[in-house]
Symmetry: C2
Subunit: 258 residues, 2 copies
């Protein structure tokens, strides 16, 4: 493992549940000597990737990461374009709505709006979503480049619950159904008790650049509600797509099929 790999792996120790860590704890969790860990942290700190609290001496993720992320986002402002739609959907459905951004054959949750209810689906930002077993994943695959679909289904797939479909043929059939319907449906394929619908947000090239999803407890979901939420999320995804690219959704869809 290279020194650069070691340094960056330290950043992965921070999470929503663990926003701050001390030097000794970071070293322990990383499995590196304290001296090594400190040197790596100093390098990261020089570039703003971590910040050390002046009082507690604890480390946390730094503004340098935000800076680069904002530069990355500036090219295509998915987050700020989608935010109002997310909020409206969360209010209208009283369920969890989340936005994911597509990378190279991956989906990263970047925005979540939780409803003010005790029984709700909790989704964390900053987590990658599996493509085969989430509504977002299926929505993405329905509008992905063929090589991305191949890459996603090319390796043995994980069964997260007893409902997870792991046979590529069956997943592709579901992807086709998603494309026809305009939104995907996932019934407890990733987590027991969770029912989700999602739709793809298309970029100028006609391929998915993100997804919008509504996740609800199964106990609060009927066939009619599922269809209603599906249509709502598809409509919102369409509007976000049109807002981002300045083109009609139909034209975008046609482009990827060419």
């Amino acid at each position: 493992m290279s020194t650069v790999d070691k340094a960056i792996s330290l950043l992965d120790l921070f999470s929503i549940d663990t926003p701050e860590l001390g030097l000794s704890e970071i070293a322990r969790r990383a499995g590196y000597d304290k001296a090594t860990t400190r040197r790596l942290l100093l390098s990261l700190s020089r570039h703003g990737f971590v910040e050390q609290d002046a009082e507690t001496r604890h480390y946390r993720l730094g503004a340098g990461l935000t800076r680069l992320a904002r530069i990355r986002e500036a090219r295509l402002p998915l987050l700020q374009t989608a935010l109002p739609f997310l909020r409206d959907l969360a209010i209208a459905t009283s369920e969890t709505v989340h936005l994911s951004e597509a990378g190279n054959a991956s989906l990263l949750t970047v925005l979540v709006e939780h409803p003010a209810r005790a029984n709700r689906v909790n989704v964390n930002v900053g987590e990658y979503l599996p493509l085969h077993s989430t509504a977002s994943g299926l929505a993405y695959l329905a509008h992905a480049r063929p090589d991305a679909v191949k890459a996603a289904l090319g390796n043995p797939l994980t069964a997260f619950t007893s409902h997870t479909v792991t046979e590529p043929g069956a997943i592709l059939a579901e992807v086709e159904a998603t494309r026809a319907r305009g939104y995907s449906i996932m019934d407890q394929g990733f987590e027991d008790g969770v029912f989700s619908v999602a739709a793809a947000i298309l970029g100028s090239g006609g391929y998915a650049i993100g997804t919008l999803a509504i996740a609800a407890p199964v106990v609060r979901t009927t066939k009619a509600l599922a269809a209603e939420r599906g249509q709502a999320v598809a409509a919102a995804a369409r509007q976000i797509s049109e807002r981002l690219s300045g083109e009609g959704f139909g034209a975008l869809r046609k482009r990827a099929s060419a």
Copy 2:
């Protein structure tokens, strides 16, 4: 320069104007050998810090940065809380409104809303703002910890224009006036022809965690307009502060003075 420093410095080559770069160009700009550069890029790529386009072979900033930035932001959702206020202010004033996030004695612009006008102030996300010569900087200093103020004014300060105040005593007087008024005023201290007002967004500790600013061409600014914008930005900053911390603004202000 350590290997980690070298690797991360490659990321700084990307900007809004230069979102993608090829291997040879990155090596040239960084001043490293192509073999070295490629090895460093591969390490960054393994963690999602850069992505290589499958067709053009060019590199760009990756989702791994967004992931960590979203985790960092999840603790305190400044961006998504402020966005609606930014938009409303941009519409109401027809001027550029921008949000900056406070780090360790630094301010990073994370959100910008430009008006649909030809003559407008252009602000880029992902750029650090000087504290002594911008409205945002003064607003921040007015509500910063004393050691951060000391650090900011402790070294010789840059005169960006002939209007820039660089004498610490005079800056501190302006900081005091900002605190009293509830918003700062900067008349071409950072860039000729630009007039800005800003207000601090306070965190639970009572100190500034960000700033909200309105930047306009001087030719479109009167004393009355300045006061009007100042009050508007102060009101918005106050609402964002209250929304984030769940406390009254007056209580927040009192806490930092204790």
